[in-house]
């Protein structure tokens, strides 16, 4: 069965430090992968998707099929990046998302 694993429940970094939020998945094919973010008191919103290959708010994520990973990275964390981050997988041609359990990022001043 498909599964998304986010091994860290909480990640604390200092402002200006690099940040990497880990996401591993189990799926035999080529999935569609997404990162969603939930800021305090806001709704879940799309941060980026791997097929777009774009950088949003300084974040990037590269799909590594060999390691079945889709880690989210940012070279210099900002305080406003503090939020809950969820990695999600969707099988190509389907609609169903499978979410990880989420990682709370705290960026300390």
């Amino acid at each position: 069965a498909q599964r998304v694993t986010q091994p860290e429940k909480l990640l604390s970094v200092f402002k200006g430090a690099p940040v990497e939020l880990k996401c591993n998945y189990s799926y035999s094919g080529s999935p569609e992968l997404f990162w969603y973010v939930q800021y305090s008191r806001q709704r879940l919103q799309l941060l980026l998707r791997h097929i777009s290959r774009e950088s949003i708010k300084g974040f990037t994520a590269d799909l590594n099929k060999g390691e079945t990973s889709f880690h989210l990275k940012k070279p210099f964390a900002q305080e406003e990046d503090s939020a809950m981050y969820y990695c999600a997988l969707s099988e190509p041609g389907t609609y169903k998302y499978i979410f990880g359990t989420g990682t709370r990022l705290k960026v300390l001043a």
């Binding site: 709704r43 879940l44 999600a88 041609g93 169903k96 998302y97």
Partner: protein, 114 residues
């Protein structure tokens, strides 16, 4: 509207009562999804609609859960004879077509069963 709207934001019910949760998707969005998010967990898929057709209800945890979207826009998730384990945040999402499209989420309804 500007986004997916869910009501009520909070619902407290006694065990055994029936509850109904409403979702108003983004105008023009064909696909609508319901997710259940327990404390400390990621959202888990419950059911999917394309227009008024419920194409997948494989995630509904029991026959006490029922969802409908009779006119292809607003959807209602109903839980009958609520149990304490039903306490969770219920999220609704919509997307334009559904297939591999980004889903837009509402604020959710936090359901607490006493």
């Amino acid at each position: 509207g500007a986004g997916v709207s869910q009501s009520p934001r909070y619902k407290v019910a006694k065990r055994g009562q029936d509850v109904a949760l409403r979702c108003d998707p983004i105008s023009g969005h064909v696909s609508l999804f319901w997710y259940q998010q327990a404390l400390g967990q990621g959202p888990e898929f419950l059911t999917y609609f394309q227009n008024e057709a419920q194409l997948d209800k494989s995630g509904l945890p029991s026959d006490r859960f029922f969802a409908e979207r009779p006119e292809g826009s607003v959807s209602t998730l109903k839980i009958q004879r609520t149990q304490q384990e039903d306490s969770a945040v219920y999220l609704c999402a919509s997307s334009y077509t559904g297939i591999n499209q980004p889903q837009h989420f509402g604020d959710g309804t936090r359901l607490s069963i006493l």
